[in-house]
Subunit: 239 residues, 2 copies
């Protein structure tokens, strides 16, 4: 598609939706969505092509005039890059038509987020992007648990998709505060690990939703399946 010589091209606006509570979007982010012609949101295809989208649930609260379009990202696929390319081409086509295009992510845009993959594609095309950040899930989770994350000279490390408990253990030994995201990849042995680790912790799943569950007691996780939207904060404070 070629650019019409007199066509005004708007920057692609990335908007971090925040962690799930629709009101935890920023004022700036909500304004951008209200002004957009098209809003692209990440969606996952599950069984038999049925789409699920955490972002769409958030977007539906805003009653936007924009056309909402899914960007399909399979949970597990070696062809993921093709999906990014495909999503980006659609975004680009709309942008070159002179439409105001917004692209959303849950949480922040650049913190374990799909937008991080689209951004280099837009840059390579010299299409300007404007980025409006959002609250990452671990920041929201600390508010829910009322746990000061870091103070003074403390440090904090966030790891995601840990592939071994020794990785988690090393992080806990070396840092004041440790957040583990996408902990479900380690499957079962969390109860044992949490019982034996020497740190107070705060576990939270489905933060801010009606299904939210939190605990600081490892026994309460026995026989519980750890879902994808879960994280744990290891702290040096009492919980």
């Amino acid at each position: 598609m070629s650019i019409e010589s007199n066509q005004q091209i708007f920057p692609i606006t990335g908007v971090g939706l925040g962690p799930g509570d629709a009101e935890l979007i920023t004022v700036k982010g909500l304004k951008a969505l209200q002004q957009a012609d098209v809003v692209y949101y990440p969606a996952t295809s599950k069984n038999e092509g049925k789409l699920t989208s955490y972002s769409l649930k958030i977007l539906e609260n805003y009653h936007l005039k924009a056309h909402l379009k899914p960007m399909l990202f399979p949970m597990k696929s070696k062809r993921r890059i093709e999906y990014y390319d495909f999503a980006y081409k659609a975004i680009r086509t709309d942008a070159l038509k002179g439409l105001k295009v917004a692209v959303v992510s849950e949480g922040d845009l650049l913190f374990y987020s799909t937008f991080g993959y689209l951004l280099p594609l837009a840059k390579a095309d010299s299409i300007e992007c404007e980025l409006i950040p959002g609250i990452p899930a671990f920041i929201h989770s600390a508010s829910i648990g009322q746990i000061p994350l870091v103070e003074e000279q403390e440090d904090i490390t966030v790891i995601a998709r840990p592939d071994s408990f020794s990785q988690v253990e090393r992080a806990i030994e070396e840092h004041s505060t440790v957040v583990v995201m996408k902990m479900s990849i380690l499957k079962d042995d969390w109860v044992l690990f949490l019982k034996n680790c020497n740190r107070p912790f705060f576990y939270i799943e489905k933060a801010g939703t009606s299904e939210q569950f939190t605990t600081s007691n490892a026994s309460e996780l026995e026989n519980r399946e750890i879902p994808y939207f879960s994280l744990v904060i290891f702290t040096s404070k009492s919980v």
Copy 2:
């Protein structure tokens, strides 16, 4: 002060103002401020008792009906805990009068923030708190620099007030992404360090203000004083 038996006590609402751009507050946070009777904000006394407050500059954009009250926290004082106690007592007095009290912080509430010190005092008094998170400065800075912070199995470490460059160096060796906040404590040798470190970096000061300055080139920091509101992101991506 005793609680009147028939007096309704509202929770103390903590509100993260976000990183400085007034529109980067959350919708929920702004609503809470609009409904508050009193808003406490952190302020610093500098030369001859003159107050400066980054938070107040943000608050003034909202034209709130609330009474705005400073909480005085000196930049450097061994008596800091006394100042927290003093601020908390004023907050408590207003809460027990049945006023809707909000307490704000720049950035998030629990990420290197004053609110982390007030929270245990309220808990000890069994005064309920409701916390509304805000965008931390490093998340905003990544958006400004358009730098994906972490993807997939990468990790990120945030350190503040580092007391040696070897601490910074170790962090860079061990983690995919490193953010150094309150870097001014190390004073002068940043140019040399940044020239010799093997990582692309993004430096930003006074993010989101009219005085914002950014660079990824160490030479541009020569003879430049690093202010308090500055941070640097070390990344594994090109900048």
